[in-house]
């Protein structure tokens, strides 16, 4: 039913929707269409319907790529949660002055170039890097210990890059927690441990879910970290899409893989919505 009053009230929103729709909606529609098309030997797109791009996803080589990316994103979420939860929890319990210092230190990396932060790990972990230097000087090892170009190197770099998102998400939910609930729990005879498990943890679950989502999504696509730290030894979705577009010149395949990546995102968003009943994503940002 058309409501003139409401339309008049909502009219100013139309340009906004068109603008973002034009820059996000249309390109995504484009990618979907492209993912069903074919390419010729020169890499030009041919308008001929095919499902072969999607069939390729189930090719063992590419299935492994999807699995690697999923594993990387999940492990990144778990590692940042395990390391980040205490940081967020302790920070929320600091005195106001120390708390704002701690928050400042957590947020500062957002402003530091992500390339620099990735490069820092090369300096640290490389065969001629700082850690190997120190260990050799101290005669703990004779020859450099190889730490680069592994799945775990990429994992470290990705977790390091994204951990501030996790901490801030958890911190916000810990901070919102009504302190009198904890006091009530102690008052009723619960120990610190019991209170944490029965009160704090369940009530900060939305923060954990939000943090996990915020870490999971970008970790699927940060191809420069796996490029620099993983050295292409393990293939991830981001690298495959990137190389298909820039080198392989198979745009339809890259499009299909992008859709696959977005489906992974939709799954995690669906789980997030189920778990927290936050349909509007208000807890995410």
């Amino acid at each position: 039913m058309f409501n003139k009053e409401k339309f008049k009230q909502n009219a100013p929103a139309i340009p906004v929707l068109i603008w973002v729709g034009f820059l996000v909606g249309l390109p995504l529609v484009f990618v979907i269409i492209l993912s069903f098309l074919t390419r010729d030997d020169l890499g030009n797109v041919v308008i001929k319907f095919t499902l072969s791009n999607y069939k390729k996803i189930f090719d063992p080589t590419y299935l492994k790529v999807f699995f690697n990316s999923f594993l990387l994103a999940t492990l990144t979420g778990l590692i940042t949660l395990i390391i980040g939860y205490p940081v967020a929890y302790f920070t929320a319990n600091l005195s106001p002055k120390k708390r704002s210092l701690s928050i400042g230190l957590i947020m500062l990396p957002f402003w530091i170039s992500s390339l620099l932060r990735t490069y820092g790990w090369i300096i640290l972990l490389g065969n001629t890097g700082i850690i190997n230097n120190i260990l050799t000087k101290l005669n703990i090892i004779q020859s450099p210990f190889n730490m680069m170009y592994k799945f775990s190197t990429t994992l470290i770099g990705t977790a390091y890059m994204l951990i501030p998102f996790m901490i801030i998400a958890i911190y916000n939910s810990v901070d919102k927690l009504d302190k009198s609930l904890l006091e009530a729990s102690y008052d009723l005879g619960a120990s610190k441990r019991q209170t944490f498990l029965n009160i704090t943890l369940p009530l900060t679950l939305p923060g954990i879910a939000g943090g996990f989502t915020l870490v999971f999504i970008p970790s699927l696509g940060l191809f420069f970290i796996s490029d620099l730290l993983g050295g292409g030894m393990t293939l991830f979705l981001g690298n495959v899409i990137n190389s298909q577009v820039t080198k392989g010149r198979n745009k339809p395949l890259a499009a299909a893989f992008s859709i696959g990546m977005i489906i992974l995102v939709l799954i995690i968003l669906y789980l997030y919505g189920k778990l927290t009943k936050d349909k509007k994503g208000e807890g995410l940002f």
Binding site: Q9, A13, V20, V87, F90, G126, I241, S258, M261
Partner: protein, 259 residues
């Protein structure tokens, strides 16, 4: 009991922050190393910085990055603020739609967003360069401006707006004389964040750069792929100093406008 748990807390946080900043400090430290390798420390030098200023490609891509970042932050500030203000006037259903549309670019992984924009713009025959860079960067910067301004708008006491209306202000006058001045600190902070994010972006810029318009991060990325050289350390250090200058500036501006 309490003392030990306090001590553990301090220890844990300190350890965390040390690990968080060691990679950054490592990069800064080795930008002053005479030896081109990180294998040994052979003495202090500023040679690598001197090298930078003689590198025409770096200077060129830096100029492009700055241009793109400035245009992006201005565009994001205007669009994000406008959207935030509009969304407080529409029905709550429409407000949710706007919110969903605005955070959409943040929910699509950057590679997918970059690739889709690449395919889209090339079909439209848009020339790749500053225009495509600014359009794509504003896409992931604008939501932050929108979210931060909206947060501030929601904090404004409704009676302040009503009282302006009561004193004779039209809708437009309310926006101009009450809302905009009150959200200015948020606009400043968020557009500086937009500036920093645009300056830092690698993934989307990889697809959006034109043949003659490579941004600095894209160039640095290609340098890093080749190998470790203290020149990268020096460049990264300079960028770090630059961003800290921006952060400091935003803090200062906020403090001033809060007074």
């Amino acid at each position: 009991m309490n003392k030990t748990s306090n001590r553990f807390r301090t220890f844990y946080l300190s350890l965390f922050f040390v690990i968080l900043y060691i990679p950054v400090l490592g990069v800064v430290l080795y930008s002053f190393n005479k030896s081109p390798s990180t294998a040994s420390w052979t003495g202090f030098t500023l040679d690598w910085y001197r090298d930078l200023f003689n590198d025409k490609v770096i200077i060129e891509s830096f100029k492009i990055s700055i241009k793109v970042a400035l245009l992006t932050s201005i565009l994001s500030a205007i669009l994000g603020t406008t959207t935030a203000i509009i969304s407080t006037y529409v029905t709550s259903k429409m407000e949710n739609v706007i919110r969903g549309v605005m955070i959409l670019p943040l929910l699509v992984p950057e590679v997918a967003l970059g690739v889709s924009l690449l395919l889209f713009f090339s079909t439209l025959n848009l020339p790749f360069g500053i225009l495509t860079l600014v359009l794509s960067h504003s896409l992931f910067c604008m939501p932050y401006v929108y979210l931060m301004v909206l947060l501030r708008l929601k904090e404004i006491d409704i009676s302040i707006i009503e009282s302006a209306k009561d004193l004779g202000a039209t809708r437009w006058q309310v926006i101009k004389t009450i809302l905009l001045p009150l959200v200015t600190p948020s606009i400043i902070t968020s557009s500086l964040l937009a500036l920093a994010m645009s300056l830092d972006d690698v993934v989307i810029s990889t697809y959006m750069s034109g043949p003659t318009s490579t941004t600095l991060p894209v160039h640095i990325f290609s340098m890093m792929r080749v190998g470790v050289t203290p020149k990268i350390n020096a460049l990264s250090t300079l960028i770090l100093v630059g961003t800290f200058f921006i952060v400091g500036l935003s803090q200062l501006l906020n403090k001033k406008s809060n007074q």
